[in-house]
Symmetry: C2
Subunit: 315 residues, 2 copies
């Protein structure tokens, strides 16, 4: 498998991307070839300090970089030689099998939506984010920002996509799916949640356990938490801010350390035909290593094929 890695994305690129790639390959079991996309000279310079075995990687030079505050759509169009534009081009033309970047999140979203086809039957791809629980497990919150407005059918599909990711990547046997809502009882919610509930209840491809209130998002009540991308985004960023507060207050606690979202590497785009992972801006080597590991795992177990089958089955 050939995984494309944007070497220019993130606050500490390309150094940390090179370190992460080297670390991954030194411990990898799968047969992974990395396509390192970015400024060739800079990448080679860092490879002197953090060598990767020849034959394990290819460098694809990218003369441009989409900066963190560039306008996503505009930048993707105007910076055709940027590492993100080239990364999606390589993925779309099957030169690579997956694409990872810790660069401009908006550009990654736009690229994932418009360069890569959605899995047949998927109306809207979504982004899943991890929610740390006190028992050490991770929940998956879908969507966290790709779809600010949703229809009930979208949320129903997020539940299927999230369940497959939770089962095969997070290792939950029959992932419990909860609908994020303002009350526990059936019938509660805004119009969207009220209309989504019966769809989830009837969906035989998932293990629906009912509504999940805000107080239970950080508890291990459901493994997959479904909501539109507006609420999901607010929840994710609020959860991320908890770690900042904990750190500022000099609190050291194993569980709250798990609110350091950087360690999870990045969040998967679910519903597109190929693995795309969007990394955190402040990604270090560990984050890059984890993003490569997760996309390798997604390819290894053919998660995309499994998702495809699910939607064929549903149709």
């Amino acid at each position: 498998m050939n995984i494309g890695l944007d070497m220019m994305g993130g606050d500490f690129a390309p150094l940390e991307a090179v370190k992460g790639a080297a670390e991954f390959l030194s411990s990898a079991t799968a047969n992974v070839h990395l396509t390192l996309i970015g400024d060739e000279e800079k990448i080679k310079e860092h490879l002197n300090s953090y060598p990767i075995p020849a034959g394990k990687y290819t460098i694809v030079h990218a003369a441009q970089v989409i900066e963190m505050n560039d306008h996503p759509t505009k930048a993707l169009k105007e910076k055709q030689q940027s590492s993100i534009a080239i990364g999606f081009h390589l993925l779309a033309s099957s030169k690579t099998d997956a694409f990872i970047s810790a660069g401009n999140t908006g550009a990654m979203m736009v690229g994932a939506l418009f360069s890569i086809k959605a899995i047949e039957g998927v109306l809207r791809p979504a982004i899943g984010a991890y929610m740390p629980r006190e028992d050490g497990t991770l929940g998956l919150l879908v969507d966290v920002g790709l779809n600010a407005d949703c229809k009930p059918e979208n949320l129903n599909q997020f539940a299927i996509l999230g369940s497959l990711f939770a089962k095969h990547i997070l290792n939950f046997d029959e992932p419990k799916v909860g609908l994020v809502n303002l009350g526990e009882e059936e019938g509660k919610g805004n119009i969207l949640a009220q209309a989504t509930y019966p769809l989830l209840k009837q969906n035989k491809q998932i293990n629906f356990i009912g509504n999940i209130e805000g107080r239970d998002i950080l508890l291990n009540k459901a493994n997959v938490l479904v909501c539109e991308g507006f609420t999901g985004n607010v929840v994710l960023k609020l959860a991320e801010s908890i770690y900042d507060i904990v750190r500022r207050r000099n609190i050291h606690d194993e569980h709250f350390d798990r609110f350091n979202f950087e360690q999870y590497g990045g969040v998967p785009v679910l519903g597109v035909a190929k693995p795309v992972i969007i990394g955190h801006g402040i990604s270090h080597a560990m984050a890059f290593k984890n993003m490569i590991r997760i996309s390798a795992r997604m390819l290894e177990i053919d998660l995309m094929g499994k998702m495809k089958s699910s939607f064929l089955e549903q149709a």
Copy 2:
């Protein structure tokens, strides 16, 4: 002023309600008369241990109680002799000037919406909840559950109501209003947030500072945070759950102690013509005392009159 207090609401009623009332009156500067609504015998029994000066209170007997898991609308209709039903009846007929309960939240919401008139011009009342900040101040998040679906004009009104509460009760000079959103830039958001932004921007009665992301909800960026009741409710309950986690993990920290929402007493219903405060189920004496204090303050400064003028001005 005559403040109605539901003595039967909350997990530790009527004992803690009696203690809270007694504590308030022992330190009150305003001329407050309390109407204690509930089981007369039980109230009198506790008054033996926690005496309140005669002439400072009246007991209104209520033979029924709306339990925490009673269906709100049904219970209010069927339990006409409940402390909540009587409490709203006294308020609606101007026998009291304010009403406080830590009982069934749903019944309190239904009662506030349907027993008490909205301020003229207010399309939908809303509930404001406090958000603790590291600098010791409190932000106000509006709405946190009364309106699961909103129109832009509703959010615009929440901004006015929240600003007046933040100015006169939370003592912010020109409260900064933020629109809860998934991105900072103007133009971001779901359809509702995108349509609300220009209304807030044009609203001369508020000090609008733009969009507020999830990561900034717990920071002192805005004093009033506006959103529909769905997202607001999820955010509030998520914030409440942080205190549970902190306590379970035996972390002692002055700031995180402020996530103990019980200490704030209760949340105000904004936009109704008379002060209504909804308390937390686990309210203790301090919570009751604070709820009485806040409703006394709302009456003292004629907050309802100020809200009324604002909406006349807007019309």
